[in-house]
Amino acid sequence: MDAQYFSEGRVRAGGHVNYHWNWGIFFEPNPMGTGTYLDMLLSGLVLTLKTGVLAWIIALIFGSLVGVMRTLPSKAAGWFGFCWVEFFRNMPLLVQLFLWFFVLPELLPKSAGLWLKQLPNAPFWTAAIGIGFFMSARVAVQLQAGIGSLPRGQKMAATALGLTTVQSYRYVLLPMAFRIILPPLTSEFLNTIKNTAVAITIGLLELTGQARSMQEFSFQVFEAFTAATLLYLLVNAVVVTAMRFLERYVAIPGYITGK
């Protein structure tokens, strides 16, 4: 890794008795020739959001499937769901990304492994899939709790009405459960966005990565990280506000949060 280079930056930044602030640095051209340093950070922000949203879609799909499986009467389904959650929850995300990025291509048949390694944007896809599966375990646990919090009568009434299992989940249980777990899902979505920063280790130049390269090029450590921090806070604020509107829109009448 370029860690040595990195710590050299620290020494240089710290070598001066006083840190030289330069807030104008954002409007100076970056050495990549892609505009200013600000453009660099913004492209990082876009990549963070892209990765986060794709990972979140994967997490929602797999998390919902697994979460539902854990509530089914079938023992095999419950066991599968249990294994899925334990597998993805008990390993650090960083290790999981390494497994996807470095180990998986080696374990596949040669041609498939080669294809995987030569994939353009490999860090992006790896990060989205790795973070998506990692978060799916958390979504599954939330959904299971949400379904479990519904009164037993709901499932029974659905069955009494002649709905099949699929129908009772589709029309009765899931619409309720998802609305109940919307607040915890919001924080899991924010976690997904924050977790994209871990993908810096497989070379994804998302927001934290761009802030770091800006620090390497310009030695303006604190300006770069301050800007990244503000952008993360902004994303957080936007997501929280949007979700609050969504929560009010889908609130269930009769519940505490209902109208």
Binding site: R89, P92, F98, K194, N195, A197, T201, F225, Y232
Partner: protein, 230 residues
């Protein structure tokens, strides 16, 4: 698929992985959990103190930390701590801070935000009668907290606190971005030296998985025991 899987690489690296790597990870986890708990409890007490300004500062700190990715916070402290040290000690130039101290400070400050939310929930789960009774007995605020509220809050929240510590244990692997030799860092160094990424990363995954699994199994048993008592 596993035709040239070399267990020898792992076995030869075992002493290095465990004495250098895993002991660093455990040390960092334990000290950060301890520091985070103390600092987090202080923040929780600030939030519940009834003083508006104090509560707002604590609330801001928690929200702020929780909206940033840990990787960014690690970078922040790595560069900031030498300057803070200069400011605290009054030295003429930024002091040099070792990798361990730097990452320990980072994790304490970061985890405190999460631990404080757990402790806040724990303190709020104590019935009002308890501090009222302590007050009636003539205990001061500090005594009430020390002898009545905090021991119960801590006990009620023990499973959650341990679960958070498991998360912390996994998160310490992120010090990789500073190329520190924690467990994953050690595995990755061997992997790159010997060109054995598959073996080392799979082994690292198995070790993290096993430790976390055993710990969360312990938490589940603890939860069951506490549930019977309450």
């Amino acid at each position: 698929m596993f035709s040239n899987f070399d267990f020898g690489v792992i076995i030869r690296a075992l002493p290095y992985l465990f004495y250098e790597g895993l002991s660093f990870t455990f040390m960092l986890t334990a000290l950060a959990a301890l520091g985070g708990l103390v600092f987090g409890t202080a923040i929780a007490l600030m939030r519940l103190s009834g003083y508006k300004t104090l509560g707002r500062i604590a609330g801001f700190y928690v929200d702020f930390m929780r909206s940033l990715p840990l990787v960014l916070v690690i970078f922040w402290f790595y560069f900031l701590v030498p300057y803070i040290g200069q400011w605290v000690t009054g030295a003429s130039r930024p002091i040099s801070v070792g990798a361990f101290a730097s990452s320990l400070i980072t994790f304490i400050m970061f985890e405190a935000a999460y631990f404080s939310e757990i402790m806040r929930a724990g303190i709020q789960s104590i019935s009002r009668g308890q501090p009222a009774a302590a007050n009636a007995l003539g205990l001061t605020y500090a005594q009430t907290m020390r002898y009545v509220v905090l021991p119960q809050a801590f006990r009620n929240m023990l499973p959650v606190l341990i679960t958070q510590t498991i998360v912390l244990f996994q998160d310490t692997s992120l010090v990789y971005v500073l190329s520190i030799t924690d467990f994953l860092g050690a595995a990755s160094k061997v992997a790159q030296r010997d060109g054995r990424l598959v073996e080392m990363y799979l082994f690292a995954a198995v070790v993290y998985f096993t430790i976390s699994c055993i710990a969360s199994f312990g938490v589940r048993r603890l939860q069951a025991r506490i549930a019977i008592i309450r």
